[in-house]
């Protein structure tokens, strides 16, 4: 069935996807809230930049990240100057890459969920004495629950399926940067279709059932709305 290396890749992939999702929810929530509510003219620019990973070939994104994170890049260089390691070809580098790569999959559902709430519930909360942060956490977040679920699952699933960016900035180091999609690629290259089937089929089933769960839960939630 699965080899030792496959299991390592599986664990690494889930660790990467989980960490990326958590980071994205923290970064994406304020960004999505800002996008849903701002009247700033720079909004369209930010929206376009956030959506970029949707259309950009992952290799392009990966290439620029490699340059930025590598020992001669501004970020990698700075890390090195501070006594750290450059991020290229490390797990931390993969996390940075995944955060960029999956950003729109988290920010867009959140932005749409916040926009769908509209300004009224927040105004109502203000007239009931709730300060801005208080009303954000007690009104906006609970009402945007379907958006959070969609964002978390899409962010997770999309990171699990990442290939091009990982290949560019992570390479193929077992236990450090070898993720599932790359393990599948390796199996196919070696014409080891049996192992490729197990991994590919498993990924297919996982992705489908995650999405099924999201749509079922969100449908129930919508039934609750007036």
């Amino acid at each position: 069935m699965l080899t030792e290396a496959d299991l390592t890749a599986l664990a690494l992939t889930f660790r990467l996807a989980g960490l990326t999702t958590v980071i994205l929810l923290f970064l994406g929530t304020p960004l999505a809230w800002w996008l849903a509510n701002t009247r700033c003219r720079c909004k369209t620019w930010v929206e376009a930049a956030v959506a970029l990973p949707l259309v950009l070939p992952p290799t392009v994104l990966g290439f620029y990240l490699l340059i930025l994170l590598g020992p001669h890049g501004p970020i990698g260089g700075a890390m090195q100057a501070l006594g750290g390691q450059p991020l290229a070809f490390t797990f931390a580098g993969l996390v940075v890459g995944s955060v960029c790569y999956s950003l729109p999959f988290v920010v867009q559902p959140l932005r749409d969920a916040f926009a769908a709430i509209g300004p009224r519930p927040m105004e109502v909360a203000a007239t009931l004495r709730a300060a801005p942060l208080d009303r954000f956490f007690t009104v906006a977040v609970p009402l945007a629950r379907p958006g959070f679920l969609t964002a978390a699952v899409l962010g997770f699933a999309h990171t699990v399926g990442e290939f091009g960016v990982v290949l560019m900035i992570g390479g193929n180091i077992p236990g450090e940067t070898q993720v599932l999609s790359i393990a599948i690629y390796d199996h196919v290259e070696r014409l080891d279709y049996g192992h490729a089937h197990w991994l590919a089929g498993g990924l297919l089933a996982l992705s489908f059932f995650l999405l099924l769960a999201v749509y079922t839960v969100n449908r129930r939630f919508r039934g609750m709305q007036p």
Binding site: R120, V124, A125, A126, T127, L128, R129, L143, P226
Partner: protein, 356 residues
């Protein structure tokens, strides 16, 4: 104690320039056609609309002036929105507690059970807003606003989104609010019958400006204002129940201009009620004819002012014992009677509506 407000701003071609002083007690209706800025005024009072250089003082507290702008969540007010705005993710009980929890215990003046009883929402407590009727939602929203122990209650057309039956359900609660709690209310409406029933004071708005403001009885009968010229022009008269007539099944009420006779109502003697007398139901005569007429409500009155209502009719403003009233008669009759300000007449009131 008064509420003083002045807001001035321009937004997308609409100029808002409202200045008003109204008593900080009873119900002040803000009345006008849609788009005249009624809701904007309410939002500015709540602090949801930031009018730079605005001024707002409620009683002895400044909520906005040159130095300060108290944010909405720090203003001790309650706001009932037209489309209610219950939180869909919370049960009725948690909706009610949302505001209550955020008010310091020593400043609470309305208890949970009190508001629940006043608006009869006890059977709804464990339900979610999605399962409630329009009238039930509005009752919950009013109770929720009251539970913040507001020093000013703002209501933005709370009945406008409701059907006739739900309106009938809510109105008695608004009457009780009026009687049982001493919270001043700013009540936005474009429905004359709600205003006549609930308001003590009236602010008339037009095109983002305050056109006129004053006690309801005066405002309804001022012939320089549009209210007195519509087909439904009417006077609002406060009267007291004094007696019941069991033989003819009648109720008697007094007001400074005399005694009204109306169909029997089950109201205790001494109860203050509001009567509405439509201008078109009041005819005038120069002499007193207590015989030869079926009309029971006839009062001596003096003509104060006469204004054209339309090419064939005039609106006459009268006072009976100092209480203003309106009469709509033909211009021909006015000429035949020789009516002019100061003339003493008898006002014959054909029908009276009693607002319990």
């Amino acid at each position: 104690m008064t509420i003083e407000a002045r807001f001035r701003f321009a937004r997308g071609g609409f100029t808002f320039d409202a200045e008003l002083t109204v008593p900080a007690r009873g119900v002040t209706a803000i009345f006008g056609p849609s788009g005249c800025g009624k809701t904007t005024l309410l939002r500015a009072v709540a602090g949801l609309e930031h009018a730079p250089d605005g001024y707002l003082r409620v009683g002895d507290e400044a909520w906005q002036d040159r130095q300060r702008f108290v944010p909405c969540h720090r203003r001790p007010l309650g706001y009932v929105f037209q489309e209610v705005g219950l939180f869909a993710h919370l049960t009725v009980r948690h909706n009610l507690e949302y505001g209550l929890k955020r008010v310091a215990a020593d400043t609470r003046r309305v208890a949970f059970d009190e508001a629940v009883a006043l608006l009869r929402v006890a059977p709804l407590l464990d339900r979610r807003p999605a399962g409630l009727s329009g009238g039930e939602r509005q009752r919950v929203a009013i109770a929720r606003a009251l539970l913040t122990s507001p020093r000013l209650l703002l209501m933005d057309e709370p009945l406008a989104a409701l059907d006739q039956a739900s309106k009938g359900e809510i109105l008695p609660f608004l009457d009780r609010l009026h009687e049982e709690l001493e919270i001043p209310v700013l009540y936005v409406s474009h429905a004359p019958d709600e205003v006549a029933r609930l308001a003590d004071h009236l602010v008339l708005m037009h095109d983002g400006r305050v056109a006129a403001s004053g006690p309801i009885a005066d405002m309804m009968t001022r012939v320089d204002l549009p209210l007195a010229h519509g087909n439904d022009a009417e006077a609002v008269i406060e009267a007291t129940v004094v007696d019941h007539d069991d033989r003819y099944h009648l109720t008697y009420l007094t007001f400074p201009g005399g005694r009204f006779t109306v169909n029997r109502k089950d109201l205790p003697v001494g109860r203050r009620v509001r009567l509405r007398v439509a201008a078109r139901d009041v005819s005038l005569s120069l002499g007193y004819h207590s015989t030869g007429t079926s009309i029971l409500n006839i009062f001596p009155a003096r003509v104060e002012e006469i204004a054209d209502a339309n090419p064939s009719q005039v609106t006459v403003r009268l006072t009976a014992g100092g209480v203003p009233m309106l009469s709509r008669i033909t211009r021909k009759s006015a000429a035949a009677l020789g009516l002019s300000p100061g003339v003493e007449v008898y006002a014959q009131v054909k029908s009276v509506a009693l607002l319990a």
